[in-house]
Subunit: 203 residues, 2 copies
């Protein structure tokens, strides 16, 4: 073995981060152990703090440190529209634009059977339950147009076929899900005004 | 603020890793919090274990979990030659080639005043002390030929000007320091046989 057992274990743990291969993981581990133990300590406690404090809002799955997220806890928000986003980053982007007054539902992913991401992982049962609460009249999908996102849009639309709710879609085709916080607020605002109602084919 | 305070702190801590920008750090943090808390827990404990268990060998600065590293603790190793490397990865590469029977000294970097890496950070005082121990007759430099490495070679050579020790250099010009574990063992073996003695200009 080239490194000590604890070093090897650290290299393996770092490799589980997205975009980190074995070489980067080695470089990271050695930099922390050789020269920057304080950086390592800081990361270790930031990780354990975040994992303890941060959880999904039981209503909309936004990451929060409170019982309910700020939007769900705010009685002034419009409870009739739920904006469905793929990631907390997208929710943050739309929220920063201040152009949306409704509530959110965060999928934390899109359907991807190959990665084992099915409807349960995305909380779609909870979404349907939330929509049944009575106050909700519109499900607004803010997803990009990648193949998996399209399949997710289709699947969600089908869930609301007999519900009497309106399902709309915001034209975020130019923007990638998971990157809406980088988009210009005016672009987000304009996309929101251009949402389209999705029709159901009735058999 | 787009994310919760503990999430923001985690994103900042991840950005301190080499090669991780703000976007990658966000992606990493959200992936851990949204979908892979076990990965995060594992990384947090791997970090704190490694930082507690792993330290530099007091004699040669190799990362070890024991009082002395395996090479320094092994009485069968040739104590007359010290191979100086820039990183623990290079030590591991040479060790895996099984072509070197002497001992090591790991700098954990090369001279880089702009990054605040001076002779003390590299442990050069300890190297000179170790070389004075009597058993040592040769300092073998296994560094690449980048500008900072060349300056480091020159600086170390000067430290041994009046010492009576032989200072040699292994021709690792084709290989980058910090990547010797990727080199073919035969290439390392051959480079070791082609080491050259560095002369001193006597004033």
């Amino acid at each position: 073995m080239a490194f000590t057992p604890a070093t090897e274990k650290l290299i393996q743990a770092l490799q589980a981060l997205p975009g980190v291969g074995v070489r980067s993981a080695q470089r990271m581990a050695l930099q922390l152990l050789e020269r920057e133990p304080e950086t390592g300590q800081r990361l270790s406690s930031a990780l354990s703090d975040a994992l303890t404090l941060v959880h999904k809002c039981p209503q909309c799955r936004t990451l929060t440190e409170d019982d309910l997220c700020g939007v769900c806890a705010n009685p002034d928000r419009d409870a009739s529209v739920i904006c469905v986003v793929a990631s907390d980053v997208d929710r943050a982007g739309i929220e920063m634009s201040a152009a949306f007054q409704g509530r959110y539902f965060v999928l934390h992913g899109v359907l991807s059977p190959i990665d084992g991401i099915g409807p349960e992982t995305l909380g779609l049962v909870e979404l349907v339950e939330l929509a049944r609460s009575g106050e909700v009249s519109e499900i607004m999908l803010a997803l990009d147009d990648r193949l998996e996102s399209e399949a997710t849009v289709h699947f969600i639309k089908e869930q609301f076929k007999e519900s009497g709710l309106t399902v709309t879609r915001v034209p975020f085709h130019q923007m990638k899900s998971g990157a809406l916080d980088q988009a210009d607020s005016r672009v987000i605002e304009q996309a929101l005004t251009q949402k389209q109602t999705l029709g159901f084919e009735h058999d």
